[in-house]
Amino acid sequence: MIKIWFAGLMRERNGRLLGAAVGIAVTIAMLAALGAFLAQSNASMTQRAVAGVPVDWQVQLVPGTARGLVSDAIKKATAIATVQSVGYADVDGFEAHTGGTVQTTGKGKVVGFDATYLHDFPKQFRLLIGSMDGVLVAQQTAANLHVTVGDSVTILRPALPPVIVKVGGVIDLPNADSMFQAIGVPAGAAPQAPPDNVLLLPLSEWQSLFDPQAVVRPDSVRLQLHVGLIHTHLPHDPLAAFVAVHGAEKNLEIRIAGKGLVADNLAARLDAVRSDALYARVLFLFLGAPGALLAIFLTVAVVASGGTRRRRDQALLRIRGASRRQILQIAAVEAMFVGLSGAVGGLVLAEILSRTLLGVSVFAPAAFYSTIAAVSMGILLAQAAILVTAWRDAQQTTVAAARMTGRDKRYGLWLRTGLDFILIGLAAVIFWKTWSTGYQVVLAPEGTPASSVDYVAFLAPVLMWMGIGLLTTRLCLVGFQRGKRFLALGLQPIAGTLSGVVSAAISRQSNRMTQGIGLVALAFAFATSTAIFNTNYHAQTRVDAELTNGADVTVTGTALAPASAKLKELKALPGVLAAEPMQHRLAYVGTDLQDLYGIDAARVGEATRMSNAYFANGNAAKTLALLQQTPDGILISEETVNEFQLQPGDLINLRLQNSNDHQYYVVPFHFIGIVREFPTAPRDSFLVANARYIGQMTGTNASEIILLKTSAPPAQVANAARVIAETLPGAKVTDIGEAQRLIGSSLTAVDLDGLTRLELGLSILMVASATGLILALGLADRRRTFAILSALGAKPRQLGAFLWSEAALLFLVGSVIGILTGFLLAWMLVKLLTGAFDPPPDHLLVPWVYIGLLVMVALISVALAVMGSLRETRIPAVQRMREL
């Protein structure tokens, strides 16, 4: 019997089987592609994190321990690429005689390293002037001592006579934090700020100077082994990679117990990234899960839309003696067929989507488990949608019951208990609590950055989504039951004299209509919220990169060769919309050396975006206008304001270097506002003032930086700018694209482009399905209604009134509720992620074109569904009457 029935299904109900299989396929494709994307982004996060660590392990030897012993232990603990010896010596200070004055620093460190060190760990130093061979001075130390290449520096050794060395080069130490970390000290036990004064020597010279010091002051000299691990064997997942590296480090600790201490920079970095990865996973799931849920709902709706027929079929089977077991067997076969064909189709679709949009394969080893999970879920869904429905129907079906209208007899428990209001209330409370306390997703205090994910915060949009879904259901049910007259009035333009009957028919099928409207609303909400969020995310990634890079293209010169010397040429480059000079000097605030940026407050915004979030008062225009009106005004970073307890209007004296004699002189400023971030500025402490005033007080108007806003691709303009900047020694040209690629592991660095394309594409598909497919399937289920109406003399135009009325209601109510919900959810999500955006967006960006496209697609889909059904009305009435 099952064989005959199945053959009949394939012959007579193939459209519905196909619809259900397509629903399953889309669900599987969505889940599998999402899983593959997650696996890929995790892998790239690991790769990026590993690549960003300058030295994987720093092993500090206990005085007296042989280097070879520890080196062997390291090789046994894990596979290593390289190991280098680095000497650290504490000194009482440095002294330099320049320009007839003597500069002396406080305590400092002298580092000794081998000539091959730079080859193995190239990210540790950046040469600013001179050569890497010989004695190197850190940039800030060189500024403190007023020395440059060729000058002499005296090293004041403790308990030993001073020695004089000649400076061969000035360098920047981009990883000073990890390079000078206190190894073996518990995290957070003591401040680990890197030293202000650093000198670097070739290892042999360092040994000759500090081996004697190790004898008299053994506590002041240490030897470290800097280790580079082989990264090719590391797992893709940050968590697994962390476990692997951390395990190897623990193994080494046991091997060298009492002989050395290990600083595991790689594990620390992976630890931070695994939190980011976890966070990204939550975010992606948050964005993707509603899509997958929607696909599931759609599949269930497709299956359910054939419910009337299925119930009638079942009732007839029962009458003819089929047992409940046989009916369920038939349903199981149908479900298995739908599930398996959906799985095959889903995998093909997922592979196409993943390869074209995400650049990954769902069959890749990393995506194995997620793909299996997606396929299993699809097959289970088919079973649940078909078999469970059949089982439920089999409990009570008679032919008469099969023809029930589905009219609501009583309200559900959730309606009576007001669950929708409770959920919305809870969402509002959680959202308010999270927002008002200034939740920051990524915590980046002094020292090692760390992430902290407050999962409770994500409950707010989830609960809001569910609450609005239920509220929509409540409003529809109540509206259909009590608002028949208004509905009839509203439908009059479409249904004419039949509007009363049409509205009555719709009202009495409130369950079906509400489900349809709910699905359309969910589809629109998903599409709108995803599009708005992705638009803002994308825009913020660019703003983040612009903040880091300064502008579309930034030309950075030096004090000796300022970029402003080439301003005219740069301005004249094709594709340059605006070129604005910006001074970058160093100023002493008390004893702190801070970055000072000199700008033309009226014009800086022409070349780079001046976000409101850059300023504590949240108003960029007002702050810059005030700076323009106050020639000696200065904007100070929050950290400095707090440290020095400054009040607006306070007079502060900074020390700036004069260009004529290179000496530092006191320059008075008036504190006028707090600046939180500024293009190219560091995150912690910096100052912004008027370039004209700085120029007057330092004897030079030269600007070290030129910010370029471009209309042509930034990389192209950057290439042209490089040609011009070639004549400026030490000048550097960077474009926003490079910055976007280089931003560390912050949230906005995760490339959502592929996911965005996938989600936006699927959203359109789902909106089209929710509107058109559901409508078409529902209408197909009412052929009997049309047969009766035809027999009563209804003309095609009158049959159309039923169709168009239902379609209009479904589309209008569903799309309006859906789009509004989408806006609300996107707004909540962006607000919740304010801490992750750097800087946070000033206002919500709305992709109107995409939303317009969605509405158009839905309209076309509705029109196609109705016109397809109208074609049915052209079938001779006598044929339709066979449905009776």
Binding site: A400, R403, M404, T405, R407, T497, L498, G500, V501, A504, A505, I506, R508, Q509, T785, I788, L789, S790, A791, L792, G793, A794, K795, Q798, P876, A877, V878, M881, L884
Partner: protein
């Protein structure tokens, strides 16, 4: 003198089945006049329903001539001039009894008092108390009475009832017929009922017989058949 409402001259209706032609009606010639009360009898599959569909203008004969001299063009017959009643339940499930009954008037853009017309039709079949019920709340007999009320609500010139009592027990079926005949008494409306029930057929003035697609209008009595 009663006017001729439908005039059929040697009409036939055949359907293509593959390459072959299957004749549902081989030949039917008749006149249907005002106030006629006609029962069509015949075996299942003899062509009774097809003849009804042709008379209602829902189907087109493949041979012969069919005309509605007093009623108008075929596509304007339903619902004003001709009403159809079926054997199977034919009420729209989401509409109440009164809304179902009102449907032909709404479809015909009736400009009079629809509510009064519906009330009158329901009263004919003693259905007033069921006016606000849904079909799912009615018995089979009640549903068929509602279908009858829907047929008469627009005062059509012809009522074509295709085995209207076929799913009802005899007393219920006869009560339904009684109410219909009482309502039609004194009106010019013609009634054509196809039936397998000899007692129903006997209540009609004329009996036609369909036999293998051929209509015989000269049947003298049901006993003769």
């Amino acid at each position: 003198m009663n006017k001729t409402l439908i005039h059929a001259d040697a009409i036939g209706r055949s359907y293509a089945q593959g390459e072959a032609q299957v004749a549902a009606i081989v030949s039917a010639t008749f006149l249907l006049k005002e106030q006629d009360r006609i029962a069509i009898i015949g075996r299942s599959g003899s062509g009774k329903s097809t003849l009804m569909h042709l008379m209602a203008g829902l189907d087109v004969p493949t041979s012969g001539t069919l005309m509605w001299p007093e009623l108008g063009a075929p596509d304007t017959l339903l619902p004003e001039q001709i009403a159809l009643v079926f054997q199977a339940p034919s009420l729209l499930e989401p509409l109440t009894v009164s809304e179902n009954v009102a449907l032909p008037l709404l479809l015909a853009n009736f400009t009079g008092d629809i509510a009064a017309a519906v009330r009158a039709a329901l009263a004919t079949f003693h259905l007033q108390e069921l006016a606000h019920k849904l079909p799912e709340e009615l018995s089979g007999g009640q549903m068929q009475r509602v279908a009858m009320a829907r047929a008469i609500v627009g005062n059509p010139r012809v009522i074509l009832a295709d085995e209207p009592t076929g799913q009802l027990d005899q007393p219920t079926g006869h009560a339904l017929l009684d109410a219909l005949l009482v309502h039609l008494a004194g009106t010019s409306t013609a009634l054509v009922i196809s039936t397998h029930d000899p007692l129903v057929a006997k209540r009609m003035n004329t009996i036609w017989q369909m036999d293998q697609g051929v209509l015989k209008t000269n049947v003298t009595s049901i006993e003769a058949v």
